[in-house]
């Protein structure tokens, strides 16, 4: 399949801080590709470089065969971008916003009018076309934000955390809409820290942490690699790897921060797993403060790869961006 986006050794450095290390990945036509990771993983910087907003310190971005640095205007015309925050004019109507953004992508006349009608219908805002955007609910603004990115029928739609601040129903609607668009042939690059959402939506994902891609594959392949599940054990005090060895009978061990141990289960043996862990821990003279069993999922894969939950950082979001603040009138 033809590559729509190719990233080669893409890097960004701010002074002495390496925000994004040399990234390499490619997205094929018709694919939904997820860029996953917690806040601060480098996703937004990467998106900035892919859309031409941030100058890379090194590397190359090719969009449908065009080098973004050498042919920025032609390459940008193939991208539809949906930023994390609402980026439109709240004092204008939805239609006027779309007219403006359509024109800067070279649309005009009957084609522009038709695209506006189609796009507003798709995001279920047709009846609010003439209303001032400042009167819209959070969810409606979120849909308009996406509509602007779709208006010019891009080759690839890049969405930066498009479901932040929407309730479960709206999140589901957005995900289903994206699936529909994808079925019509639209290639999608989707960033999120919602592993479950990515697992449900994406054909392939790249997991980012601290500016690096730590894994790239299909969600099912990544989950298969994590075995039959993961046992996460928290210790009361730091322990050496040698002390933990008795637990290795259950599967391969990963030690994080010397107080958190992950056991990647070798077989589907969750029966009486708490008892088995307790016996082995006693044998190793280790006091436990907590134990969780994680079913195979992208969340458990991320947890196992980084020792941290991708969702933890969600707690730091402002109130109005927390899930469940949808207030459609």
């Amino acid at each position: 399949m033809q590559d729509i986006l190719t990233v080669v050794n893409l890097a960004k450095r701010y002074g002495s801080r390496q925000a994004v290390a040399a990234l390499n990945f490619r997205i094929c036509q018709g694919e939904i590709f997820g860029l996953l990771g917690p806040n601060g993983a480098g996703k937004t910087t990467t998106i900035g470089m892919l859309t031409g907003l941030v100058d890379p310190s090194g590397g190359q971005v090719m969009i449908d065969g065009l080098d973004l640095r050498q042919s920025p205007l032609e390459a940008k015309a193939k991208i539809g971008f949906v930023p994390q925050d609402f980026a439109f004019y709240p004092t204008l109507s939805a239609r006027d916003n779309l007219i403006f953004f359509g024109r800067i992508y070279g649309l005009h006349g009957r084609l522009l009018r038709q695209r506006i009608v189609d796009t507003l219908q798709m995001v279920e805002l047709a009846d609010r076309a003439e209303h001032t955007v400042s009167t819209f609910s959070h969810g409606m603004k979120r849909r308009l934000n996406i509509a602007i990115g779709l208006l010019h029928h891009p080759q690839i739609l890049i969405l930066d955390e498009p479901t932040i601040g929407v309730d479960a129903h709206m999140r589901q609607t957005i995900v289903e809409n994206l699936k529909t668009l994808n079925k019509r042939g639209l290639t999608i690059l989707y960033t999120t820290h919602h592993m479950q959402e990515a697992q449900h939506l994406c054909h392939r994902v790249a997991i980012m942490d601290k500016g690096n891609i730590i894994a790239t594959d299909t969600p099912s392949a990544l989950m298969a690699a994590s075995g039959k599940g993961i046992i996460r054990i928290r210790l009361s005090k730091p322990a050496l790897r040698e002390q933990m060895e008795p637990l290795a009978d259950l599967g391969s061990l990963t030690l994080f921060d010397s107080t958190v141990v992950h056991i990647q289960l070798a077989a589907d043996t969750t029966d009486n797993i708490f008892g088995k862990v307790a016996v082995l821990a006693e044998k190793a003279d280790i006091a436990l403060t907590g134990i969780d069993i994680l079913e195979p999922s992208l969340e458990s894969v991320f947890l196992h790869l980084t020792g941290r939950s991708a969702m933890i950082d969600n707690a730091s979001l402002p109130d109005n961006q927390q899930p469940g603040v949808e207030d459609d009138p």
Partner: protein, 424 residues
Amino acid sequence: MIQHIFAVTVKEFKVLWHDREALALLFIMPVFFILVMSLSLEGVYGGGSREQPLEILAVNEDQGQAAGKVILDLGKMERLTVVESLESAPVTLRKAQDLIRTKKYRLALHFGDHFSERIQSESHDNTIEAPVISLMVDPAMNLQLVSSLRGTIQGVVERHLIMARLPHIVHQGLSGLGEQGAPEMAQMLNALTPQLEDIFSNADIGSLGNRRVSLQVVPLRSLVNNRQPTSTEQNVPGYTIFGVFFIVLTLASSFIQEKNDGTFQRILTAPLSKAALILGKLLPYYLVNLVQIALMFAVGVAFFDLRLGNIGALFLISLALSASANAMGLLVAAVAKTEAQVNGLAVLLAITLSALGGMMVPVFLMPGFMKTMSLFTPHAWALSGYHDVMIRGLGVSAVLDEAGVLLGFSVLFFLIALWRFRFE
């Protein structure tokens, strides 16, 4: 309750402290106002100031001594400097007119060749013309200032008129007494004192001198032929320039809002150059400025019979003025980081540059260093350009310098703004 107030107060202080540049502007602004306004206004009251006296040329063609004495007395006034000679040569009428036309001097007094003879003459003597002093002024001179100066000069001249005519008056009085004959000399001397008192008590210019000196104000090179422009004609250009630069606040706020809303970022992911974005963003404000200028002049024409002069020259200055105001707005948008900083900076610039540029006080009345500083404001050049067209009646070629300097300001502001501007 008190705890809540305290918590809110502390939070607000922290917010203010977080935007230290905006906070600093709150202190810098009044200091600037005090400095600029006080220094520039100093010259308005009393015609000039001790440090920066008003310079007035004196053309003395009088064959007698009266004009020389008036000039000497005027020169003793601490707020006036009378210039009788330039490069060791007396100032001639032609030289004075040239110097005013070229805006090197704003005022000149002209005493005709028979001034002394005429102030001595009787009003009923039709063979001798009434004495006249011409006060030649640049038509763009502030009317209140001309009026105040005229009063001052008139006062000095009339005092001299009385002094010059006093011997003649006394002689007349004593001649009357002499006709009464020598034998009654003792009684005559007794009668002399109250009669003289009576004579001098009535010695006002109208009845005593018979001749009154006429001080004629002659505006040179005026669009409205040989009459001093009205205060509206003088003030509309200044108000217009003042209003035009308010676009700085509106324009810079709009740029900051787009930065904050993230719309700039989104637009830049589209196939659109940064230059197109900035120019597209500036163009409406530029047009708003031109409409603003047209509207203000239209009001002047409709309600105050304002004469616009050469429309081409007026348009040229207006185009250049709007360009400099827009470029300054972009510069403020580039330098300021927050809405509060934009507000503070825009107001600071609007007031201080207007004061420095001569919107409130004529530049030639300002102290020397402020005169120099005014050259670094677009306001001063725009005002000079408008005065050239609307008051002095000049055309396109005469305002090319002003338009060029205004465009120079525009380019300078624009380049600095582009260097400093960040879209995020």
